[in-house]
């Protein structure tokens, strides 16, 4: 609060005697909506949207073929999982995603180690990787279908191929982010080349690798579904295509919900792993500081 001082204090330069006093704000602090936790705000918003959607569909009497009501989707999910085909299809897709992702991670990390520890490998492999990266990987799904058949193998390969590049590129960046001073430090204490890799370069690369895994996990879900679209006998992608042919939009939406849950869960596993493994990184610490 500023208090107006008597006018008599005006001197010939038009200046006043001013005084400022700071003290804690009096009275109750005004509560703002944005002070509430983020998860609460966003889930409430989603809930309101779903309710709005339900009301809109019911009052306007929209056909379930165009827009199924949320209640219908929930019903389809419940029956689908209790005595329908959802469990089988979900397990198939989940396996494709997890195996494909795992292959991509192992291959991506090994290639990154190889490329960053050998000049020759770097010069030969990196340009090839750059060129291959521009090929739309999903376009290879039909080819894998021809080579490996309608089973899970072709889907796992497509998934692995899509998820491989972000892992490789982020891991390569991470391995190369070690400073030469730090390498000199390790070597001055007698570290071998292998020890420099395992005790310095690998831990330094962890935050970057985690960022790569996060991209890869989302791409894995896309890879598995697209591969199933191209040709399959089971999986959530198959279910979407099959219910599309029979205009069963409710089941399509139910499959979408399951896919989102899978994607979100995997994303959070990666994020939590990252927080544990890279607790020391600049990024994680500024988050803890509440920024």
């Amino acid at each position: 609060m500023t208090t107006q001082l008597p006018r008599t204090a005006v001197d010939d330069h038009g200046q006043h005697d001013l005084s400022v006093r700071r003290q804690p704000p009096s009275g109750a602090e005004r509560k703002r909506l944005s002070d509430l936790p983020g998860w609460l705000l966003s889930s409430t918003t989603v809930l309101l949207l779903v309710i709005g959607w339900e009301i809109a569909v019911r009052t306007a009497d929209v056909s379930a073929i165009l827009f199924p009501a949320p209640s219908g989707v929930i019903e389809a999910l419940v029956t689908g999982f209790t005595d329908g085909p959802f469990v089988r299809h979900t397990l198939v897709t989940l396996q494709e995603i997890v195996y494909g992702f795992a292959f991509a991670v192992v291959a991506g990390l090994l290639t990154a180690v190889w490329v960053t520890s050998s000049r020759l490998a770097e010069k030969i492999v990196l340009p090839i990787v750059v060129v291959l990266q521009t090929v739309p990987k999903v376009a290879l799904a039909p080819l894998f279908l021809v080579w490996f058949g309608f089973g899970m193998e072709s889907k796992i390969l497509t998934t692995a191929l899509i998820a491989f590049f972000p892992v490789l590129i982020n891991a390569t960046l991470g391995f190369n982010s070690t400073s030469s001073e730090q390498v000199n430090m390790m070597r001055s204490f007698g570290a071998t080349r292998l020890q420099v890799l395992t005790r310095l370069r690998l831990p330094t690369a962890v935050p970057s690798i985690i960022a790569g895994l996060d991209v890869a996990v989302v791409l894995s879900v896309i890879g598995a579904i697209v591969a199933e679209f191209v040709g399959s006998q089971a999986g959530l992608g198959y279910l979407i295509i099959a219910s599309n042919t029979s205009l069963d939009t409710t089941t399509m939406f139910a499959a979408l919900v399951v896919l989102s849950v899978i994607g979100l869960t995997l994303h959070y596993i990666v994020v939590l792993a990252g927080r544990r493994l890279a607790f020391w990184s600049e990024e994680n610490r500024s988050r803890h500081a509440g920024l």
Partner: protein, 255 residues
């Protein structure tokens, strides 16, 4: 002077890009001697330490040193300009890095000594913390403890206090004097600060601007043990002024 433990025999270093960083550097260091190297930025001081550690190949000449130690890596201990701690390790594990490289058993055997060193440097309460929870001066102390872990006879220090504020710097300089008085290690200490060099050293090697040659070697015969009060003695002032003038002349000659 007794048989030297470290001999720089006409050392020349030319980097592949043509830069001559060190030119015909010649110096003998006695056992237990504290030698400082001062010189303008870019005159090849850090290069010299890299040559000693075998991190860069020599172009001409040779460097020889000897010391009693378990193996080659335990002969020398190096303190760097930045702390260069591993962010994912605790303070204790950072001090133990040299042991961990020798295997789990060695790490376990050296843990008591690591704790002792931390206590000596006033970091006993911080053993389980991580580097980001420490101030710059504390981090640098961890770097010193790490270099002392194997009790090396030869200590190499590259502007170890260069990045610190004046007060922390004085404190760590006195800590270093203490440590050195205890078992009189052979120390090669690189610095920009003339007063730091005079206060700590038995001899100060003054280098010319690039390519680095020896401009002068100044004997510091101030009595020990020295304290911060030593700085205000006239003898100290005379030595510092002498080194200053050698540096200035060296700069003029090349300019």
């Amino acid at each position: 002077m007794s048989e030297p433990v470290m001999v720089f025999d006409h050392v020349t270093k030319q980097y592949p890009n043509g830069t001559v960083a060190v030119d015909d550097f010649h110096l003998d260091v006695a056992d237990g001697e504290f030698v400082s190297i001062v010189g303008p930025s870019g005159c090849g001081k850090s290069t010299m330490l890299k040559l000693i550690m075998g991190l860069e190949p020599l172009t001409r000449g040779s460097i020889t040193y000897r010391a009693q130690a378990r193996d080659e890596s335990a002969m020398t201990g190096m303190v760097f300009q930045q702390p260069l701690l591993l962010a994912w390790h605790t303070v204790l594990d950072n001090v133990l890095v040299p042991s961990t490289l020798q295997g789990r058993a060695q790490r376990r055997a050296d843990e008591p000594r690591a704790r002792e060193l931390l206590a000596m440097l006033g970091l006993a309460d911080f053993a389980e913390r991580h580097p980001y929870e420490l101030s710059g001066g504390m981090q640098q102390r961890v770097g010193i403890a790490r270099a002392l872990l194997h009790d090396p006879r030869i200590l190499l220090m590259d502007e170890p206090f260069g990045a610190l504020d004046a007060m922390t710097r004085d404190q760590l300089t006195m800590d270093l004097l203490d440590i050195w008085e205890r078992d009189r290690k052979t120390v090669v200490f690189i610095t920009h600060s003339i007063s730091e060099a005079v206060l700590l050293s038995d001899r100060v090697v003054v280098m010319t601007p690039r390519p680095g040659r020896v401009a002068d070697v100044v004997d510091i015969d101030l009595p020990r043990p020295r304290t911060l009060q030593t700085i205000s003695t006239p003898e100290f002032g005379r030595l510092a002024a002498h080194i200053r003038s050698v540096l200035d002349t060296a700069e003029m000659v090349t300019a």
